[in-house]
């Protein structure tokens, strides 16, 4: 973002009221929202870490004792490592699927849609307005055993005679892909849209094949969008438990399901430890990924 100019002190004008307090009024504008974020984001995050170190024998009724019980982490990771691993596998698969599906769509909207561009963009965002849960439930119908898709796949022998789609890892990844696809398409579109067509024409004039032009011109220029889209799909997918609950089975439970259930059962220390572990793993992965992809000026 180009550094916007500060307007409070235009040169050569009588000092506008408040103009000299430029710095201070910045703080004042920031204050209410900043306090909200500090009180309800920073403090809770610290509390979550503290809670993860409480003695696990405590309860809501008896109260908790802060004993620096690091063992909570070892215990929760030992008990829930399959769910943790599964969360990252499913989120990774969904993110990959979002790239594969989202790139052609974003590309088509940016370069091929012509006057249909706005309509296609609306069509990308439109499903958002039907409730997330209601849409996810409609996948139960689409992937259901008695419905057209499964019958068709059985007829063409892609699925076995008694093959299923619902209540499988495939269904969970399909749901995740569907729900977070717009978060891939929109940033990708924003990046592709900015590409100067003359770069591609220049590449063609210099006898590069369309594939080479794509690999050496389009793709690098689309990287910021690709990185942003990957993060926007991967992070919420890894923490999601709606898709795994509604479209999966007990063998597809993700770490979010466990965190939710542990909180509901009142086991706050274990739930908090698991939650902090999830966040830490995501932070490490994102850090490595952003480093690797070479767009560190993302934020």
């Amino acid at each position: 973002m180009a550094g916007p100019l500060r307007t409070a002190e235009p040169t050569g004008t009588p000092p506008a009221p408040g103009g000299r307090r430029g710095g201070l009024s910045g703080y004042l504008l920031l204050l209410p929202g900043g306090v909200w974020l500090a009180l309800f984001f920073v403090v809770p995050t610290a509390t979550l870490v503290a809670t993860s170190l409480y003695d696990p024998s405590g309860s809501l009724q008896l109260g908790y004792r802060m004993t620096g019980h690091v063992q909570n982490y070892a215990d929760s990771i030992q008990d829930y490592s399959p769910q943790l691993v599964r969360s990252f596998l499913y989120a990774g698969a969904a993110t990959l699927a979002c790239v594969v599906l989202g790139f052609p769509l974003a590309y088509a909207i940016a370069f091929k849609a012509g006057r249909w561009k706005n309509l296609m963009l609306v069509a990308v965002i439109a499903p958002f307005f039907t409730s997330f849960l209601v849409r996810t439930l409609s996948w139960q119908y689409i992937l259901g055993d008695n419905e057209a898709l499964v019958s068709f796949l059985r007829t063409i022998r892609v699925l076995g005679e008694d093959g299923h789609l619902l209540a499988t890892p495939f269904a969970v990844v399909t749901g995740l892909t569907y729900n977070f696809l717009p978060f891939m398409v929109l940033p990708l579109y924003a990046s592709l849209e900015k590409i100067d067509h003359r770069f591609l024409e220049a590449a063609a004039d210099l006898y590069s094949s369309p594939f080479t032009a794509f690999r050496t011109v389009t793709l690098p220029l689309a990287m910021p969008g690709l990185v942003a889209g990957t993060l926007l799909t991967f992070i919420p997918s890894a923490g999601d438990y709606i898709n795994s609950e509604l479209l999966g089975n007990p063998q597809t439970r993700m770490v979010g399901n466990e965190i939710q259930d542990l909180f509901a059962a009142g086991d706050y220390p274990t739930a908090s430890a698991l939650s902090v572990t999830l966040m830490a793993a995501i932070v490490v992965l994102v850090f490595v990924y952003v480093r690797r992809s070479g767009t560190e000026d993302l934020v």
């Binding site: 916007p4 500060r6 235009p10 004008t13 009588p14 506008a16 009221p17 430029g22 703080y27 504008l29 929202g33 900043g34 909200w36 974020l37 984001f41 920073v42 809770p44 509390t47 979550l48 503290a50 809670t51 809501l60 989202g102 052609p104 769509l105 974003a106 590309y107 909207i109 091929k112 296609m120 609306v122 069509a123 499903p127 307005f129 039907t130 409730s131 997330f132 849960l133 209601v134 849409r135 439930l137 409609s138 139960q140 689409i142 024409e201 063609a204 369309p210 032009a213 992070i235 919420p236 890894a238 923490g239 999601d240 709606i242 965190i259 939710q260 909180f263 908090s272 999830l278 966040m279």
Partner: protein, 278 residues
């Protein structure tokens, strides 16, 4: 793809050219179909006459769900709760977020990058982590018994806030600051400059942020469920119904929400076209 076009032009006409030109478009449209089918299914199922509580296949056509939306126990109560929370959260987040966006774009101050990070982090936190940390806070300060409307509202303002800042910031950064400078050159004070110049120009961004906030709040399940106590919002109603057997009225609500949103988008589009045409 101009490169493909150029190469194809050089290679002359042929079926390959059409394919190269249109393949991406066809693929893109197929993906759009994938994104649209579930919405069409929701619309279809809103006319479903299910054979039993647990049936989730199309058993017959009926209009009964549309005439009896409030039939299922608690459905409309949960809708009202979600609307109330959505409106209040939108109001709060839009107000706080707009102020923050102005601070970030129009003022230079120490600690800007820390503020930027503070605004960005909530968006990069998985919902289940954000929800559980808020719950940990509420439990620790001893208000676990008061979980309900107000704790949901606090959470919703929180997660909408960052999205408002980012949306308004984008609009504000695109504005020419010289317009404001010109107003001040003409002896408008800061207050007048803001209300006469900046606010009207930024308003579309604020409106967009408010719409985004409302839809985020209305749709949220994970954070809400952790901090709701006994309160039931619409997504929580759907969640509960998914375990017990889904009333088809849920699909009516989904369809209505979709139609209302489309009407708003269409009205916005028409309004901006009329403005452009003038």
């Amino acid at each position: 793809m101009s490169a493909a076009t150029a190469t194809a032009r050089r290679a002359g006409r042929g079926p390959g050219r059409w394919l190269a030109d249109h393949l991406v478009l066809v693929l893109g449209l197929l993906v759009l179909v994938y994104m649209t089918v579930p919405v069409l299914v929701v619309m279809l199922m809103s006319f479903n006459d299910p054979a039993s509580r647990n049936s989730y296949s199309f058993d017959g056509f009926t209009l009964a769900n549309w005439t009896d939306v409030c039939g299922p126990f608690q459905l409309c109560e949960s809708l009202v709760t979600s609307l109330q929370i959505g409106l209040l959260a939108t109001l709060g987040a839009t107000l706080l977020g707009t102020l923050m966006a102005f601070a970030m774009v129009r003022h230079r101050f120490r600690g800007r990058s820390a503020a930027n990070l503070l605004i960005f982090l909530p968006m990069a936190t998985p919902e289940v982590v954000m929800g559980s940390s808020l719950l940990a806070l509420f439990v620790n300060v001893g208000v676990a018994g008061l979980l309900g409307f107000w704790t949901i509202l606090v959470a919703h303002v929180l997660f909408c806030l960052s999205f408002v800042v980012v949306t308004v910031k984008a609009r504000l950064a695109g504005l020419d600051p010289r317009l404001e400078q010109a107003a001040m050159d003409l002896y408008a004070n800061e207050w007048q400059t803001f209300w006469r110049i900046s606010f009207p120009l930024v308003f579309p961004g604020i409106l967009g942020a408010a719409l985004l906030s409302f839809s985020l709040s209305f749709d949220d399940f994970i954070i809400t469920n952790l901090n709701a106590g006994q309160e039931v919002t619409f997504p929580m109603f759907v969640w509960g119904a998914a375990q017990r057997g889904i009333p088809p009225q849920i699909n009516v609500v989904g369809t209505i929400m979709f139609l209302v949103a489309m009407a708003v988008v269409l009205a916005g589009e028409l309004a901006s076209r009329r403005r452009a045409g003038r």
